[in-house]
């Protein structure tokens, strides 16, 4: 059934008075892929999703679905469906009537609408629940009704607004996988909003990270984790130690100096104006030395690893060491060992609190 279409934003803005909720963003969602919009709250990701749905109209730029410019079309005319954070199931209609709603609103015959609805309910594993009211179902079941209702019209684009936020932790993982399976099985174009980076990395073909009404970076999950392009990105995706200092080329690669401490980084490309490095805690090692420049302040056992918090001349450092390694004592002096290729050189962008 591939009616799935691509979504393209060309320099799209949404202003409320002088406040820009979204400022001049451009991106493409390829047909049949799952793309996540990720970012801290208030970054504009939900506004972006609502712009695709037609629930908000852009104040500037063009939005294309497939090859059609839909910028001026309302939600009812766009051929886009949405699964809401609250599910927004109609409380006065039964499960079946909820799913039939879309076909009926679009002018389908009652019998056809019912057949389509039953098919989709079976697809999400809810055959036999047709006569229930939404209030008589569990949170997870309600979520599946919402999905069935959204896919019944076979929309060209399917939108999810934080679909897992009302579920408990155990269920979240299963529903997340179900959504990904469904998307791949039906070849749907899905745009998915979340603030949970683990969720985003796990389900997406591509992740678009937004910050402060603009796109901070987009790419595959590996891209974003391995090659963050800004201090914000390094800090936002995964844990990172951020150290400011100066680079100097040497024979064996690059040397990084922060507060008088020199750290050998191995061979790497240094972009112009780079003035800091980001270090992932799991790619650092510790060697006990009486003359070491770092002191272990605290250690915590996490099951799969030891987490050490260290005092360094430039501030605090976080290191994750495999749990099978012998534990180091608090107060011990150590040196930092950086795996080759582990350091990420960054420009110092604006500080975010």
């Amino acid at each position: 059934m591939s009616r799935a279409a691509s979504v393209r934003f060309e320099d799209v803005s949404k202003f409320y008075g002088s406040v820009g909720a979204v400022r001049g963003i451009s991106f493409t969602v390829e047909a049949g892929t799952l793309v996540t919009l990720l970012g801290p709250s208030g970054c504009g990701k939900t506004t972006t999703l609502r712009l695709v749905a037609g629930l908000e109209l852009a104040t500037g730029g063009r939005i294309l679905i497939g090859d059609e410019d839909v910028s001026r079309l309302g939600a009812a005319e766009r051929d886009v469906s949405m699964v809401f954070q609250s599910y927004a199931l109609f409380p006065h209609l039964s499960v079946l009537e909820n799913v039939m709603y879309g076909p009926l609103a679009s002018g389908a015959k009652r019998a056809d609408a019912e057949q389509m609805a039953r098919e989709k309910l079976a697809l999400v594993g809810l055959a036999g629940f047709e006569a229930r009211l939404p209030s008589e179902m569990s949170g997870g079941q309600q979520q599946r009704v919402a999905v069935a209702r959204a896919i019944v019209l076979e929309p060209r684009v399917l939108l999810f607004d934080e679909p897992l936020s009302n579920l408990d932790a155990k269920l979240r993982r299963k529903v997340r996988d179900d959504i990904r399976d469904l998307q791949q099985r039906l070849g749907l174009t899905v745009l998915y909003v979340t603030h949970d980076q683990e969720e985003a990395l796990a389900v997406s073909d591509k992740v678009i990270v937004m910050d402060n009404a603009v796109i901070a970076q987009e790419g595959t999950p590996e891209d974003l984790y391995e090659r963050p392009q800004s201090r914000f990105m390094a800090d936002f995706i995964g844990e990172a130690n951020l150290i400011e200092g100066a680079f100097s080329p040497t024979d064996g690669g690059t040397m990084f100096t922060a507060k008088g401490v020199s750290l050998p980084l191995g061979a790497m490309v240094i972009p112009a104006e780079a003035s800091m490095i980001a270090l992932r805690p799991d790619r650092l090692g510790l060697t006990p030395t009486p003359s070491g420049v770092l002191t272990i302040r605290r250690r915590a056992y996490l099951g799969h690893a030891w987490e050490y918090t260290l005092d360094a001349p430039w501030g605090e450092v976080l290191v994750l060491a495999p749990a099978r390694q012998p534990a180091l004592a608090t107060g011990a002096r150590v040196d930092l060992v950086i795996e080759a290729g582990a350091a990420i050189a960054l420009k110092a962008d604006k500080q975010r609190v």
């Binding site: 309302g74 009812a76 051929d79 609250s86 599910y87 927004a88 006065h92 209030s135």
Partner: protein
């Protein structure tokens, strides 16, 4: 599956067709003249062609898609402007007399308004939503026509003389008349001016009803009363009681020949007097009808105070009295202020009680009435007095806004709050009981009089012999050769009242709820103005509306005084703000994402409103229906100006009986009216299920149950 297609202009074409048909086939002017728009045109009234032409052009433009939006706005707007301008000042065009607007004109105007709204939507206004555009523009136009225009006109006429020329010196003479501003009652044994009387009465009524309402509310919520059903039952009574009925019962009890007066005279030698006529009587009557409303307001506020706040105070070593004084009462203060202002405003607007009990004590509302209906017949003076009354009312609302705007102490948070409310301090409880018990006795006595009064020979003079005579005078039914014959003299007014109320109620509910929907769910340029204009009707006293309607709608182009239509229109726009408030309250309980879900599923806004919003709003709609029906049946102030022999209303009929001294018939009719409305209210509640009327009856939010 394909979605419905965008606008193809069918509706605009249809509107053009309606306008053309109305022009060619229907009587253009109102009432007797059956000539169509076309025949008026052939008679030389050429400007009539322009609106129809505009409708046709707009219809044609509509088929060209959204790009013609601005042109459609211009053309339809031009057509509408010509239609109105020709209606009001035909002299500008062909120098002939104004032509009243009838069915043909109304349909043409409606078609143009529809096209204008769709033009706006096509041009991108109202978020390009045609349904929202049409609803908003139509309601806006109606409110302008039937609230704004008459009020503006009456205010303007305060500055005109009898020929319609501007005469400011006359206005000044009217304004400075001593019977308006005199404060003599404070210094000498004389009567004050009408403004002072009105304000004194309003302040006292507000104070007393708030005080009593507070006593009732404290007892009901914190007094450890097992059964507060009595209070709640009493609180429905004033809603279904025509406003002057209480005055009537007071006369029967305390008038010169009243039951209590006679008793006191006979047994205690207390001389008969006319003390009830004047400030004391009017005040008692107003406080009697206002107290239950104060009770409802303050009870709601008390329920909203989280018991945990009082518990917190107690754990901090505060005693009962200290907690009441430092926590409970300060939190109640905004509601107390609101209740006082409501009492004040209601007293200003009250017409029936001062009419029956006022005697020589004149207030603005009665003075306005006599300036129009009395021997002096001076509409300019009435308009000026109406202006003063409106100014007083609006200042009260303004005061409420700056006073209460800053201090919202809402303590209800959605979280469960399982504290136990603190019982009242002993002193407060005893004081409340001391006030409440006599008051209940008085209320019971008054309603007892109303129930019995119609079935005895002459309760006004204490002749208590049972009789059916009065009921038969008003409501006799005979069986003659033609079948049933409603011979009683009151039947006509009763049928008209029920019919007008039954027609007005659903329209009121529809207009009110749709307005609330547009206001809460859609944002557009001019939303604040729209909100202000729709709520304005609420602030205007009925007497002012009544005067305004006869001033504005007695002459072409809209000449509808003396018809049943003007009564219906009057009720719709008087009661609409209540529907708006009920709708806004109910809509704020319904998650907005339900509407959005519907529209992402391809439903148009109209379809969403029909299938999702209105079904979920059922409780609010029914409450509004009941309210506007009952309110239309009991209203007096506005409609005494508008009734005629043919379209008489029950309340106006009763007022006439009172003025003619036929108390028993008036009381008999009142009690039947009250019983009828009680039956309607109870019937609807039984039909719908009373609990469903409350907002907790159904879960309207779409929060998933698992997350609750």
């Amino acid at each position: 599956m394909r979605r419905r297609s965008a606008d193809r202009g069918t509706t605009d074409l249809l509107a053009a067709a309606v306008a053309t048909a109305a022009f060619l086939l229907l009587p253009w002017a109102f009432v007797d003249d059956l000539r169509t728009g076309l025949s008026w045109l052939l008679d030389g009234r050429w400007p009539l062609a322009l609106p129809v032409l505009a409708a046709l052009i707009t219809g044609a433009l509509g088929t060209r898609g959204a790009t013609t939006g601005r042109w459609r706005v211009l053309v339809a707007g031009f057509g509408l402007a010509v239609l109105l301008a020709y209606g009001f000042t035909p002299g500008l065009f062909d120098g002939r007399k104004p032509l009243p607007m009838g069915l043909g004109a109304a349909l043409t105007a409606a078609a143009l308004v529809l096209q204008l709204s769709r033009g706006f939507a096509a041009a991108g206004a109202f978020k390009a939503d045609r349904w929202v555009a049409t609803t908003t523009v139509s309601i806006f136009a109606l409110v302008l026509l039937f609230v704004f225009f008459p009020v503006a006109k009456v205010l303007a006429s305060a500055f005109l003389d009898k020929t319609g020329a501007l005469d400011l010196s006359l206005t000044w003479t009217r304004l400075t008349a001593p019977d308006i501003w005199s404060l003599a009652c404070f210094t000498a044994n004389a009567s004050c001016g009408v403004v002072a009387n009105t304000v004194i009465l309003g302040v006292l009524a507000g104070l007393f009803s708030t005080f009593l309402g507070l006593a009732f509310a404290l007892l009901a919520q914190r007094g450890g009363m097992k059964n507060t059903k009595v209070f709640d039952a009493l609180s429905i009574l004033p809603i279904i009681t025509p406003p002057f009925v209480i005055a009537l019962a007071l006369v029967v009890l305390f008038g010169r020949t009243g039951i209590v007066t006679t008793f006191l005279d006979t047994w205690f030698n207390i001389p008969r007097s006319r003390w009830i006529y004047g400030l004391p009587g009017v005040l008692i009557a107003q406080v009697l009808s206002q107290t239950p409303l104060s009770y409802l307001m303050l009870r709601g506020a008390l329920q909203g105070i989280a018991p945990s706040l009082e518990e917190a105070a107690q754990t901090l070593r505060a005693g009962r009295w200290h907690t009441f004084r430092t926590v409970t009462f300060p939190l109640l203060r905004p509601a107390v202020a609101a209740s006082f202002l409501l009492g004040f405003v209601e007293s200003l607007a009250d017409f029936g009680n001062p009419l029956v009990l006022g005697g020589s004590f004149e207030v603005l509302s009665t003075k306005i009435f006599f300036a129009v209906a009395g021997a002096q017949h001076d509409p300019g003076r009435a308009a000026l007095l109406a202006l003063l009354l409106l100014a007083l009312t609006l200042s009260a609302f303004w005061l409420q806004m700056i006073w209460l705007g800053k201090s919202s102490y809402v303590t209800v948070t959605g979280k469960g709050d399982n504290g136990v409310p603190l019982p009242l301090p002993r002193g407060v409880r005893i004081a409340s009981l001391g006030v409440v018990v006599p008051w209940i006795a008085m209320t019971v006595a008054i309603y007892g009089i109303i129930i019995i009064g119609g079935f005895v020979t002459d309760i006004g003079r204490g002749v208590m012999e049972p009789t059916w005579r009065h009921i038969l005078t008003g409501f006799a039914i005979e069986w003659n050769a033609h079948g049933l014959f409603f011979a009683g003299s009151a039947w006509d007014s009763f049928f008209v009242t029920v019919m007008v109320s039954a027609i007005a109620a659903p329209i009121t509910a529809l207009v009110g709820i749709l307005t609330a929907y547009v206001l809460t769910r859609h944002d557009f340029i001019g939303r604040r103005t729209f909100e202000f204009v729709t709520m304005l009707a609420f602030a205007i006293p009925g007497t002012v509306i009544g005067v305004a309607y006869i001033v504005a709608f007695n002459v072409p182009p809209i000449e509808i005084t003396g018809t049943g239509l003007i009564l219906i229109i009057c009720f719709v726009f008087r009661n609409m703000p209540v529907g708006v408030r009920a709708g806004i309250a109910a809509l704020s309980q319904i998650d907005k994402s339900l509407d959005e879900a519907s529209s992402t599923l391809g439903a148009s806004t109209g379809y969403t409103v029909r299938r999702i919003t209105l079904p979920l709003l059922k409780p609010a709609i029914i409450a509004t229906l009941v309210f506007s029906f009952v309110h239309a049946m009991t209203a007096v102030s506005a409609i005494v100006f508008l009734v005629t022999a043919r379209y008489n209303m029950a309340t106006a009929y009763i007022v006439n009986r009172v003025e003619a001294g036929e108390y028993p018939l008036a009381i008999a009719y009142s009690s039947l009216l009250i019983l009828f409305m009680l039956a309607v209210v109870v019937g609807i509640q039984l039909l719908v299920g009373e609990r469903k009327l409350g907002r907790r009856g159904v879960s309207l939010t779409s929060t998933p149950s698992g997350a609750r």
